[in-house]
């Protein structure tokens, strides 16, 4: 299997496990506080990884357009991404909101079609339909969260 695919699978494991640990942490703290401290922890761990993989020179910034792009990413990932997701997790629980993240491939395909000019195949559309159906099935079960 290609190393890129293995790394993506490792990422799915990291995010899947991390979400549950965050949910556990939110039993004793508010989502805002958890999000900020998690972001701080992630920054610290990534700083270590940057030094290990590239030395102190690894922090060199390629240019201002790079900084603008990562600023937008920071906004999307942490403010409208993780902060909202952690709020959602606190309200509805991991079991309900986690499959909604499974819809990421659909949004990604939409981006690839609208911005990348790609045309999705029949199999891709069938996969998207399965994902939407799966999320709908989970959402119809959300009343059990109330129990």
């Amino acid at each position: 299997m290609e190393i890129g695919v293995l790394l993506a699978i490792a990422a799915a494991f990291g995010w899947g496990a991390g979400d549950v640990f965050v949910r556990r942490a939110m039993f004793g703290a508010r989502p805002e506080a958890v999000t900020v401290v998690v972001a701080g922890m992630v920054l610290l761990a990534l700083a270590v990884l940057v030094v290990v993989t590239g030395g102190a020179g690894g922090f060199a910034v390629p240019g201002t357009s790079f900084l603008a792009a990562v600023a937008v990413m920071g906004l999307l990932t942490w403010l409208s991404g993780n902060l909202l997701y952690f709020h959602g997790m606190q309200r509805a629980g991991v079991v309900v909101v986690s499959p909604i993240l499974g819809m990421i491939p659909i949004f990604s395909i939409a981006l690839a079609v609208t911005l990348g000019g790609e045309r999705p195949s029949v199999a891709t559309l069938a996969g998207a339909l399965a994902i939407v159906t799966g999320v709908a099935v989970v959402l119809t079960d959300r009343k059990r969260v109330l129990q």
């Binding site: 993506a8 640990f21 509805a92 499974g102 491939p105 799966g134």
Partner: protein, 154 residues
């Protein structure tokens, strides 16, 4: 008295679902931008580092008032946050490094497996707090099946 309570709880769950959907759109877009950056030659771990640095800056600025009153956390909570932080750091660095080697349309569907991984950890960490129903497992399996189909098609 119990009817309004249940209605409030239903509203909270619905709001939580809307938040998660908005988060999914945001995270997809951030991944798309990350793909452009790593294709330009920047290491995935460096992209991840600066993304979190800006994210922390924005979070602190946006939520400063509410954070002032509630950033003191118990040691038990900090332990879970530390483990989560390490998981997220490794996940982000792995995914952005992966995007330098594979297409976004291949990498993104793999991330669709997150719900099943979460369910496995729910059984280990949240036993007694959240429960898996047959329908939720069936739904998550459909999601992952769809993700596999998209991955195979691309």
């Amino acid at each position: 008295m119990s009817v309004p309570v249940v209605r409030d709880r239903t509203s909270a769950v619905t709001l939580g679902i809307v938040f998660a959907a908005l988060a999914a759109v945001s995270l997809s877009t951030a991944g798309f931008i990350a793909k452009q950056l790593v294709d330009d030659g920047t290491a995935g771990v460096v992209v991840a580092f600066y993304e979190v640095a800006f994210g922390l800056l924005f979070l602190t600025a946006a939520r400063a008032r509410s954070l002032r009153s509630g950033l003191r956390l118990e040691r038990g909570v900090l332990r879970w946050i530390a483990i989560a932080g390490i998981c997220f750091a490794l996940a982000t660095a792995s995914f952005y490094t992966a995007l330098a080697r594979i297409d976004f349309s291949v990498g993104a569907p793999i991330i669709g497996a997150v719900p099943l991984v979460s369910y496995a950890f729910v059984l280990l960490v949240l036993r007694g707090h959240e429960r898996l129903t047959v329908r939720s497992v069936l739904g998550a399996t459909l999601v992952v099946g769809g993700v596999v189909l998209i991955g195979a098609a691309n």
